[in-house]
Symmetry: C2
Subunit: 549 residues, 2 copies
């Protein structure tokens, strides 16, 4: 056994099982993220600034939408020193009640959105606490928070996170009268940062947020002046509804856990009560397939029986999950957003029917903008969104990128090197909306590569791609026709002279007539035979989508 | 206020701050990972199998090294059905004591390695619990665990994780006499999986593990037969020592927390006792710069004083952190590993001096293999290791990849498109060793892009690159010399005839003499002047490393 210091930990040399056991202890989740701040998006000082604004804006938009309030957001970034900044984020949301104020900002893995199946930007009860933790790590300063629910009092308090215990530490708390009945939240943080206005910046983030959330009014008061993102509509999106899980794709382990804890008296009412789209006859079908009696108590179902039940749930034909738990951007909005943002020749947007992964409904939307003033050189630009939140980092390890790269863009008349992004004057917008977005990290920067998700994104892109292909083809045809006409025009004098020789008539009037016909488009210039064939070959097999699904 | 179901949760419509508050609750870390299993590396069934083996092997190697035992690992993968597998992982490590058995396998964020500053593969107390959780989610089956510390009893138990409470649930526990005094751990899991032997496979993982851990003996009993990775050395690596944090790069927030909880009586003894490389005179220098009295109680230091102290800690010249907390692969081992694995013409390995990020010492090693039978077409292959663990996923979002791409490989005679991997017959091995590896996700697949880390990897590559450049240059010179000789040989008859005309002597003997001289290499063929100039231009400025550092 090794030498030990006062704490019972061997300093070096070989450890026995007992030595190792002595050192085992629980790790608080706040300590975990204090050491792993990069997991929350804080691996460098410029990204950290964007991440903070992102967490604040996401929270504010969620709160406003939950409360049915048209969002008014104000983001202020003030430079205090070379690498010192103050960030203030204020919204007009419902505010936070006094009893939960400390926990809502000072305890990690605590929140109202984790357990519900309903689309929202935040979920995990980490986001804004990560921002507060980053401020505390880099400047030691507490967060200053102001909030009111619109009652008589505005609360102002200063808060740090006790990472060892994962508990809030309030260092000051005052109240002021709320004459204007203001409601909302304002968070002020002092941080170490590096300010950029290049690609992955607060600018770009807010610009794309405005595209996806046109009912939000956002004022950005940055180090280089004020920018306003005006709302283009006063209509709030339809409230996404909270739903129950759908039987398709739910995991066996989750089913077993649900049966162990359900309040349903029997397995039939359990199926009907705790899943969406399971009525009496579907429940009977499932139970018949699983050879289980309807009256069995859920907690009495053994492991192998649960496995049969689970299989049967996947086999019975059920209606797709309800769509009202998801709030898509909608095709009109995507097209409008792209048109507002980009000068292109062609726009198309596709909203797919909802689908399911791991029992979670999701919906994919794709928008394409092509031609016009878009850069004809280089790879297409990709705008990724998850639950209306723009994703700016980790593009290369995102399911969206993978899907875009796996599509055969040559079919749609674009160039593409194998397994890469398409090349040409193209912007691809993809929106993934779900009651649960499987982000690859807590920083919510990329979507995990679940096969069901990649498949559905590809189908949406293929759908939009077929629209694009007709445009690209007709554009190419008209360009080629134009070229053929120009070529023919050059030969008009030769043709006219030949006709003079054949007919004995003067070439000059023949030449004029031919020119007039070409100009009026009355001269039909037939395409060469082999080119027509190539076109037919390139056309996509009709069973494309069906074969995949 | 909205309609509510029995649980107090509004089902839809506008929510008030009170509604939201009613739904707020704590989220168990096990629930969090149950919903986010992709964060642990379980987003699809083929990757899941590799992740499970990886977690098992990492744990086993850590345990054996901590106990100073030469590792004997056995991994068995048995196919039970189309997508059903049994995975058994057994080691000869120190085992787990009875009192901690349940927690060590059944509680997330619990372990012995999180709080110590010492290089190890696992750290966070998540890995093997994630594998158990995945088995439970996909097949509902408990993990079967056998362990003994080498005493009289072998414990066998079955375990599930109660995700809502993040607590182990033991469903069976028996003991058997331990006649052979076996010690170690064996874990058996039944899972849903897809088995592949392509690139990102158990095969590839174990092969690369064997390169980095040549003292381990690993037997892989897979669905297609048995593979053995024999040990090539019986010498265990030097025990990495547990250390205290280094003042450089430690965060202000951590410093404040340390001062609030330290048992040191005054700030001088605090600095000397809780940091590495701070002796009495360094402590005095720091305190003088910070204008703090040595006798101050650490807990009495105010925020602005802590900030001064923090700045001073970065300014005083200190010895680099001790290297004995890090266990590098070593240059010899890297070269041997590459030679064993790859048939190349040239090998080089570089171990950098240790450096610090966020107060954590780290060390970078780079190995290059070039030429020979390596594929001359396409991008170089990259072998990434972190604390001797091969990283197979998320290559594109890893600090190692970023560093490799940021190096200007044209300087070293290789082709490279802007910002891409170098092209040519090249394998690049990079090992990042640290007391704390900042992985981009809990699945430990890529290293976060901390600027200090990228910089150091680039310096190591540049160092190795300079060695490579001399070889590439000399290879090219000898190839060009060869070509010039061949060209001259063709002109020998012409030269000989001209000489016959000039001198009147017979051309035949002149020709023979010239040929003999070329073959013997006695004829010095001078390089054209402009090529020499180009070479000089290409040579790297000597201040390269200095300027960066």
């Amino acid at each position: 056994m090794a030498a030990k210091d006062g704490l019972g930990a061997p300093i070096s040399d070989n450890m026995t099982a007992e030595d190792i056991a002595l050192n085992m202890k629980e790790i608080s989740v706040a300590e975990f993220f204090e050491k792993n701040r990069h997991l929350l998006g804080y691996e460098n000082s410029s990204k950290a600034m964007l991440t903070i604004v992102k967490e604040g804006v996401d929270n504010s938009l969620d709160a406003c939408e939950d409360a049915g309030i048209l969002p008014e957001l104000k983001v202020t970034v003030k430079q205090l020193g070379i690498d010192r900044f103050r960030i203030i984020m204020e919204d007009n949301g419902p505010g936070v009640v006094e009893a939960k104020m400390a926990l809502a900002f000072g305890k990690m893995l605590f929140g109202s959105k984790f357990h519900r199946l309903k689309q929202s930007r935040g979920k995990q009860g980490l986001g804004i606490r990560g921002a507060i933790l980053y401020a505390q790590l880099t400047t030691g300063k507490p967060a200053k928070i102001r909030t009111s629910t619109g009652d008589a009092k505005v609360h102002e308090f200063e808060l740090l996170i006790d990472t060892v215990r994962n508990e809030p530490k309030i260092s000051a708390h005052t109240t002021a009268p709320n004459k204007e009945r203001w409601h909302g939240v304002s968070i002020e943080l002092e941080i170490e940062g590096v300010y950029v206005e290049r690609a992955q910046s607060i600018h770009e983030y807010l610009k794309r947020t405005a595209i996806a959330n046109p009912y939000a009014h956002i004022i950005y008061n940055g180090p280089n002046g004020v920018l306003k993102y005006e709302r283009t509509t006063n209509t709030m999106p339809k409230h996404p509804k909270e739903i129950k899980p759908h039987p398709y794709g739910i995991e066996l382990g989750i089913l077993i856990r649900m049966m162990a804890t359900t309040r349903s008296q029997n397995v039939r009412s359990f199926l009907m009560g705790e899943f969406s789209r399971v009525g009496g006859s579907s429940a009977d079908q499932i139970l018949a397939l699983a050879k289980l009696e309807a009256g069995r108590k859920p907690a009495s179902i053994a492991n192998d029986e649960a496995e049969r039940l689970h299989k049967s749930m996947q086999m019975v034909k059920l209606i797709a999950p309800p769509t009202d738990c998801i709030s898509p951007m909608t095709e009109t909005l995507i097209e409008n957003g792209l048109k507002k943002e980009l000068e292109a020749d062609f726009y198309v947007a596709i909203t797919r029917p909802p689908s399911v992964y791991r029992g979670n409904p999701f919906q994919v939307e794709v928008g394409l903008a092509y031609g016009g003033k878009l850069n004809p050189q280089g790879a297409a630009e990709l705008y990724r969104f998850a639950n209306k939140v723009p994703l700016l980092y980790h593009q290369s390890s995102c399911a969206i990128t993978k899907a875009v790269e796996e599509v055969d863009w040559k079919r749609y008349g674009l160039q593409q090197s194998s397994g890469g992004m398409p090349v040409g004057p193209l912007v691809v917008l993809v929106h993934f909306a779900s009651v649960w977005v499987p982000f690859t990290s807590e920083g919510k920067e990329a979507i995990a590569e679940y096969p069901e998700i990649i498949k559905d994104i590809k189908l949406a892109i293929q759908d939009a791609g077929r629209n694009l292909a007709s445009f690209v083809r007709s554009q190419r045809k008209s360009r080629e026709g134009q070229m053929r006409r120009q070529l023919f025009e050059r030969y008009i004098p030769v043709v006219a002279e030949s006709l003079e020789k054949l007919t004995g008539k003067d070439h000059a009037p023949i030449e004029m007539k031919l020119e007039a016909m070409v100009k009026a488009g009355k001269l039909i210039i037939v395409e060469p035979a082999e080119e027509t064939k190539t076109e037919t070959k390139k056309a996509e097999p009709a069973e494309d989508e069906g074969a995949d699904e």
